[in-house]
Amino acid sequence: MTEVAQQVANWLTIGGIYALLALGIAVIFSILGLINIAHGELVTISGYSMVALAANGVPWALVIPLAILVALVASVLMERVAFRPMRGAPLSAMLLGSLALSIVIQNLLLLFVGARPKTIGFPGWTQSSFEVAGVTVGWLDVGCWVVTAAVLAAVIVFLRRSVRGLALRAAAEDFEVTRLMGIRADSVIRGAFAVAGLLAGIAAFFLLATSSVVVPGTGFTPMLKGFIAAVIGGLGSLSGAVLGGFVLAGVEVVFQLALPASAAPFGDAVVFGVVILVLLLRPNGLLAARSVAVERA
């Protein structure tokens, strides 16, 4: 029983992080039809800014919001520098463009910061834990659940209640018509990248707090996981992305328990095999989006 509870706690933490990443990827995809492979680099950039800020004696209460802000600004900059000139290009061109952007950022970091892993001196509370009925729960896990829930709620309220959110949702549904309704395309797209950057920055904190080190290639795996989660949920569907995050985390946790020890290293291969199967049976994901971006894709 406690074993199950422990795994559920695990699942919620991993799922929350995946959901944050997947939602960021889905927000951009639903509007532009673009899969931003450079999304993972936002995590890396945020990580390096934590290193730099913490090393300069900035208190952690400031480091976290500042690092998230850096990710947000980086995301908006990415759009301005790389994706805006590419707008209207074929989808495959944008996909390859974002891969190139991701590689360029990784190597810029390699060039200016170096390949050696940088350790982030996280405050003590992130590594401490407490016990409830035999289940060990880290304060970080609790933080992750609370923040993920709060952020997801905030994003939902933002999308449902605010004018900007309405514009974003409308643009996700049909970008051309939204523009005809007098919504400024640039501001909607900038908004989408800002939201994606914000989510990536928050995810970066929880991801890096468990590993404590950052290297130029840190962002690749989170990007892949977020990407897969978004696909499972149905690319372009925002609620699907959140669902996909938890489904992917669930599959991973279950496989870790269910696979025999000798097959454990192949866990990732099995997970990706399942992804291919999901795509085969439901090409548009679990919660298929009705948006035009998806039909175009």
């Binding site: 039809g33 899969i35 790389a82 000139p85 590419m86 290009a89 074929p90 989808l91 495959s92 061109a93 944008m94 996909l95 390859l96 463009g97 891969l99 190139a100 952007l101 590689i103 360029v104 990784q106 190597n107 810029l108 390699l110 060039l111 390949a115 690749f220 892949l224 990407f227 897969i228 696909v231 690319l235 290293p265 192949f266 990732d268 291969a269 990706f272 095999g273 992804v275 291919i276 795509l279 085969l280 090409p283 894709a297």
Partner: protein
């Protein structure tokens, strides 16, 4: 009968037969490549020869990726998986049994693999077969998808194969280095394999199946409406291209003599994709793109050793090459998404140029007739117009 009309008849004879068009184009490209490689081998330094050799090894995979991506329009991140499969298969079959039985290698592998001691050619052929078989298994699923979903699936294939190669301790030596591979790759057998790849790729492109696949790239729905079986055409291209990638892997293995699974992952994928993208979606584009990227990489790699720009002194600029390559891809995507050569092969460009010249010579004041190469672009354009009248080109 005048000379001119005889040439005209000969040209029409070639134009009307897809295999002759393909053979002429492939021969022209191979001849160009052969001249360049011979020059490098006889006149260049040892370093130049090594660069040319690694260019040929990459080129086999680039032509493979192009055969799938250029004709079908589906982005593939997965071909490096088949390069890896090719490298491991041919290494397993050619490495001396004593080496494989060493405690620090793979003594627990199945007996027939331990005892295998083949030559280069049969091992490469088996490697091609294995890669094609794996590609067929993935391909049956892959061809049911399109666009972004297919691209993600190819990425998933890359990850799956990487995980298996990196963890199958018994057979691949897991994450550790596989060593003791005999040195079989030479400039000339690499060139021969690449020439074979060029001919196969060009024949496929010009064949009915290749034409259908290219039509489906231009307009998926339109081509289906006129009876193109996209799944079949894509599957053929996918399996064929995996075989070419496996050749590249075998050449790589017998050139490096030792390698690990990490060599067949995102970094190599990126380099090969850059070559494909910069050249454009044709076989000639693949060759020229790979050549241009190799030259540029070599040039930059010398810069990586350190340079000074006015007041800025850089001792060692690791990653500079990749930054420039990435920026070039970004620029290509923004400015010229169809690549250096655009949608035509080298021989088609030459023919267009010649037709334009002769038209100008015959009637100096008449509007210049655009000597489009026969059949292919017309057919594709026709399909495009039929499917979506007045549709702008993307």
């Amino acid at each position: 009968m005048s000379d001119r009309s005889r040439i005209g008849r000969a040209r029409r004879f070639v134009d009307d037969r897809w295999y002759l068009r393909a053979l002429v184009g492939a021969a022209l490209l191979s001849a160009l490549l052969g001249i360049v490689i011979t020059c490098v081998q006889t006149m260049g330094s040892g370093t130049d020869a090594r660069v040319a050799l690694s260019f040929l090894v990459n080129l086999a995979a680039v032509i493979g990726i192009q055969t799938f991506m250029g004709n079908s329009g589906v982005v593939s991140f997965g071909h490096v998986a088949f390069v890896g499969i090719g490298a491991y298969t041919s290494s397993l079959l050619t490495t001396a049994p004593e080496t494989k039985r060493m405690a620090s290698m793979i003594p627990d592998a199945p007996g027939f693999l331990l005892d295998a001691h083949m030559g280069f050619l049969p091992a490469t052929l088996v490697a091609i077969l294995v890669a094609c078989a794996v590609a067929l298994a993935f391909g049956i699923v892959l061809v049911r998808m399109s666009g972004i979903t297919a691209a993600i699936t190819t990425l998933a294939i890359l990850v799956i194969v990487r995980v298996v190669l990196g963890n199958w301790e018994q057979v691949t030596h897991g994450p550790k280095t596989f060593f003791g591979i005999p040195a079989y790759t030479t400039m000339w057998n690499a060139l021969a394999w690449v020439v074979v790849a060029i001919f196969v790729a060009r024949l496929f492109r010009e064949s009915n199946l290749g034409l259908r696949l290219r039509a489906s790239k231009t307009d998926e729905l339109g081509s289906q409406a006129i009876g193109v079986d996209i799944k079949r055409a894509r599957l053929a291209a996918w399996v064929l291209s995996a075989g070419m990638a496996a050749v590249s892997g075998a050449l790589y293995a017998h050139l490096m003599l030792a390698f690990g699974p990490q060599q067949f992952y995102v970094d190599l994928t990126f380099v090969l994709l850059v070559m494909v993208i910069i050249g454009g979606p044709t076989v000639s584009g693949a060759v020229i793109g790979a050549g241009a990227v190799t030259l540029l990489t070599e040039f930059l790699r010398r810069g990586e050793q350190g340079f000074s720009l006015g007041p800025i002194h850089v001792d060692q600029a690791l990653g500079l090459t990749t930054i420039v390559l990435g920026s070039i891809v970004l620029l290509t995507m923004i400015v010229r998404p169809s690549g250096l050569l655009g949608r035509w092969e080298l021989d088609e460009w030459l023919r267009r140029g010649a037709a334009r010249l002769s038209a100008r010579r015959q009637r100096p004041h008449a509007p210049v007739h655009d000597g489009a190469p026969p059949i292919d672009p017309h057919a594709v354009d026709l399909i495009q117009t039929a499917a979506a009248p007045g549709k702008e080109e993307a």
